[in-house]
């Protein structure tokens, strides 16, 4: 009991004593656990919403549409005859009139398909209301994905070809893909209201829902004789379309999978960045931890107890990080998955099973154990006196870099020598900055994609491409924030680690400005490497995620601007810790040795 209390007390006190470092370590592990939670949640989101919605709406197995040419007045519904009487068809719903109208809502004009429905529920394809009531004269029901995109709620007023309609309800359906997978968006009106929207130039089309005796044969039906006869009916020059429920499901799934692909790539980058950051944080604590191991051993602790104390401290952070990461992931995942709004069952808070939490916790604990293992082993191997006396890992000597630095101006001389002292830290910094630059370049490329830009301009960010852009920008922002924190922390770690040589340089005549510039430049050197690597890697990432760089490559000046942009950002971020470091009292630092 006493040992447990001691372990707890030592762990808590050390966390409190090293608040900033502990908070940073926590932040890094939280980032990892959050990303992991989102990844797991999104993975599960594709499981069953379509099947659930299809069951709830008595979804059709086949949907057929006839769209007459502009000015055509012929009764188009006769074209459905080969389908209705085809072998394997168990029941038919409709045909329902389909008007193509201009919808105006909240200052936005978009095209919409208005389907005329009976007030009584249909036996096939009856959209399931998620809010409000079913169609009635003068009141429209809006498909949920479409309503979300337009920001419409029950009670709002829309205009269809200039005629006002109240929003009576919001509903989901599997007769067509949800908006924005399928455009234009769908709304349901009474038959009479839909009929009234027809114009001479844009006559009514019709839609027919079929239920097959064997729903699994829908794809085969699509390619069968009846479908052939339907598709080749040229009596009224109308266009015909036929979709099986499998086609719709696949299209819906594709959207989710695009997001998943983007998220998978970005979460890998985030995880790599988090690992790089954790390594820097843990590495900067290593000297102190080794000293602490020596201290504990000096007062009689066994190496095992020392390891337990260190592990307890890191485990506390890992458990806290798991809790925070899972909570944030749960809150953020629905935002990232709300493209499934057109289906029932999404977007709920993604299912968070015990297994998911366990998987996240395992990663967090692995990080904690990793952070514990090195100082514990090093501390156990090192003699107590040595651990107390000389805890810092001695800096490396890099003769070539030292020789090179003599030919450079003073700030660069200081910078190169600081980089040479801790080359691994500089490489980790370069790696984390490369990840951030890679993401920025990929986002720039996506932004430059003309097709995406056209789609985004339709209605904010609600198109498929717009959603991916939105996702990429959101995740890029997370990556950049993390990389920025990492840059600040690395600079601070460099400031602490190099306080003696920089104080000495000042005693020997370097000005505070030269030391500040040197400390900043020591981060700019890995930054320059990161910018140079990040540009081709960003383009490669875009290609890897399914884009085509040849169609979307940003102008060369944009890409070139990434280099000074990166350097300016790093200079701004690191200037304050560097300046603080360069202003420390020289006498104080040198006297403490």
């Amino acid at each position: 009991m006493g040992r447990l209390l001691l372990t707890w007390r030592l762990a808590i006190r050390d966390i409190k004593r090293r608040r900033v470092q502990s908070a940073l370590l926590l932040l890094m592990i939280v980032t990892t656990t959050t990303t992991l939670t989102i990844g797991l949640a999104l993975h599960k989101v594709t499981d069953s919403p379509f099947a659930r919605t299809r069951a709830a709406t008595r979804g059709p197995d086949i949907v057929a549409e006839i769209i007459p040419p502009p000015g055509g007045a012929h009764d188009a519904t006769r074209g459905f005859a080969p389908l209705v009487h085809a072998t394997g068809v168990a029941a038919a719903g409709g045909p329902y009139p389909l008007a193509f109208a201009s919808l105006t809502a909240r200052g936005i004009d978009v095209r919409a398909e208005a389907e005329g429905r009976d007030v009584a529920p249909a036996t096939i394809d009856q959209p399931a209301l998620t809010a409000g009531r079913w169609v009635r004269p003068g009141a429209a029901v809006i498909e949920r994905g479409f309503a979300d995109a337009l920001g419409l709620h029950v009670g709002d007023v829309i205009r269809l070809n200039g005629r006002p309609f109240g929003v009576g309800g919001i509903a989901v359906s599997t007769a067509q893909c949800f908006y924005p997978v399928s455009t234009p968006g769908v709304i349901w009106l009474t038959r009479r209201d839909a009929d009234a929207l027809a114009t001479a130039t844009q006559p009514l089309g019709y839609v027919l829902s079929l239920r097959l005796a064997d729903p699994n044969s829908a794809s085969a039906f699509e390619n069968g004789n009846a479908a052939y006869a339907f598709g080749n009916d040229t009596t009224n020059e109308a266009k015909t379309f036929m979709t099986s429920w499998q086609d719709t499901e696949n299209s819906d799934f594709k959207v989710v999978s695009v997001d998943q692909k983007v998220l998978l790539i970005v979460s890998t980058l985030l995880a790599l960045l988090a690992i790089a950051s954790i390594t820097v944080v843990v590495g900067s604590r290593m000297a102190e931890q080794t000293r602490r191991v020596g201290l504990l051993k000096a007062v009689g602790a066994t190496p095992a107890l020392v390891a337990v104390v260190l592990l307890a401290e890191n485990l506390l952070l890992a458990v806290a990080a798991t809790a925070v990461g899972v909570t944030i992931g749960r809150l953020v995942a629905p935002v990232l998955t709300n493209l499934g709004n057109g289906l029932l069952g999404t977007p709920p808070a993604p299912a968070l099973t015990g297994q998911s939490v366990l998987e996240v916790a395992v990663v967090a604990v692995a990080v904690a154990v990793g952070a514990t293992a090195v100082p514990a082993i090093r501390g156990a191997r090192t003699s107590t006196i040595r651990a107390l006396d000389d805890p810092a890992h001695p800096p490396r000597r890099r003769p070539s870099l030292i020789a090179l630095s003599t030919r450079l101006p003073v700030p660069m001389l200081i910078a190169v020598r600081l980089v040479a002292r801790r080359i691994r830290r500089s490489l980790l910094t370069a790696a984390s900055m490369t990840i951030a630059v890679t993401m920025v370049v990929a986002a720039l490329t996506l932004e430059h994609n003309d097709q995406v830009r056209r789609q985004v301009s339709v209605i904010g960010t609600t198109t498929v491409a717009g959603r991916v852009t939105h996702l990429v920008f959101l995740l890029s922002a997370i990556l950049i924030v993390l990389a920025a924190l990492n840059a600040i922390f690395t600079t601070w770690a460099t400031v602490i680690d190099s306080q003696r040589p920089t104080a000495l340089a000042r005693a020997l005549g370097a000005t505070p400005g030269q030391v500040t510039a040197g400390l900043t430049a020591s981060q700019l050197l890995p930054g320059l490497l990161a910018a140079c690597l990040g540009i081709p890697l960003g383009l490669a990432l875009y290609q890897l995620a399914g884009g085509h760089v040849s169609e979307a490559s940003p102008p060369v000046p944009w890409l070139v601007a990434v280099i000074p942009g990166t350097l300016i950002a790093i200079a701004v971020l690191t200037a304050i810790p560097a300046r603080i470091g360069a202003r420390r009292s020289v006498a104080e630092v040198l006297r403490s040795e």
Partner: protein, 247 residues
């Protein structure tokens, strides 16, 4: 009060306080000092009497709470940090008790560092550093890292480094404090040589032997100068005599 003609370093009414209220500590209290060109001054006193603080004040590494300071005819107390650094680089050389050599640089690279920081070309800095290492008898240790040098050798490297830019004054803080007797003798010999060459020296020390080589001995207690003695034997006695190695 400004320095008199011929003084390269002067201080008047110098005070340095730390803390406030009941925790106020006056580390240096109303100290005035004139150091003439080529003079060697030793400041002695018990631990914590303010010797090192005074040295850091004289070197512009700490700001005085009150008083005036003049080095090479430039007032220091109001000078901005960058100006102080520039003045240090050409007018001052520091020798520390803990040597403060850069661990990852060789002896030669440590000695050339001040010249590089002052903007000298790599070749000039290297030539000057080689000469200085030869002067302190370490030419054969030029490529050694500090960890491969003895304490006395490290301090000789530090002295060579202090001379890299031909400073007007060398300030030494307990230069023999971390050395054994033999190493102390090596360093004493070097200081004697410097003094003989006309180098102005201000040395803070516990070591009576090094103090006795000075022209002037100042005793400090509780932040104040309490005694000042002109040593006749300062430059007349040899290191061997002082170290008790003669006869």
């Amino acid at each position: 009060m400004t320095g008199t003609t011929g003084s390269v370093l002067s201080a008047s009414g110098l005070r340095k306080e730390y803390g406030e209220g009941v925790a106020l500590v006056r580390a240096v209290d109303d100290v005035s000092l004139e150091v003439a060109q080529g003079e060697s001054v030793a400041i002695v006193g018990p631990s914590g009497c303010g010797k090192s603080t005074l040295l850091y004040l004289l070197g512009g590494l700490e700001r005085p709470t009150a008083g005036t300071l003049e080095l090479a005819h430039r007032r220091l107390e109001q000078m901005p940090e960058a100006g102080l650094a520039r003045l240090r680089r050409r007018a001052l050389g520091f020798v520390f008790q803990a040597f403060h050599l850069v661990d990852e640089l060789t002896a030669l690279e440590n000695v050339e560092l001040p010249a590089l920081l002052a903007g000298a070309s790599p070749r000039t800095a290297r030539e000057r550093a080689t000469d200085l290492l030869e002067q302190v008898g370490l030419e054969d240790r030029a490529e050694h890292l500090p960890s491969a040098l003895s304490g006395g050798q490290r301090q000789r490297v530090a002295i060579a480094r202090a001379l890299a830019n031909g400073p007007a004054v060398v300030l030494a803080d307990e230069p023999t404090g971390n050395l054994d007797s033999a190493a102390t003798t090596e360093v004493l010999r070097l200081f004697e040589q410097l003094h003989a060459d006309g180098q102005t020296l201000v040395v803070v020390t516990h070591d009576e032997r090094i103090a006795s080589t000075a022209d002037r001995l100042i005793t400090m207690r509780d932040g104040r100068f309490v005694d000042e003695t002109k040593l006749t034997g300062g430059t007349q006695r040899t290191v061997a005599e002082i170290a008790g190695l003669d006869g």
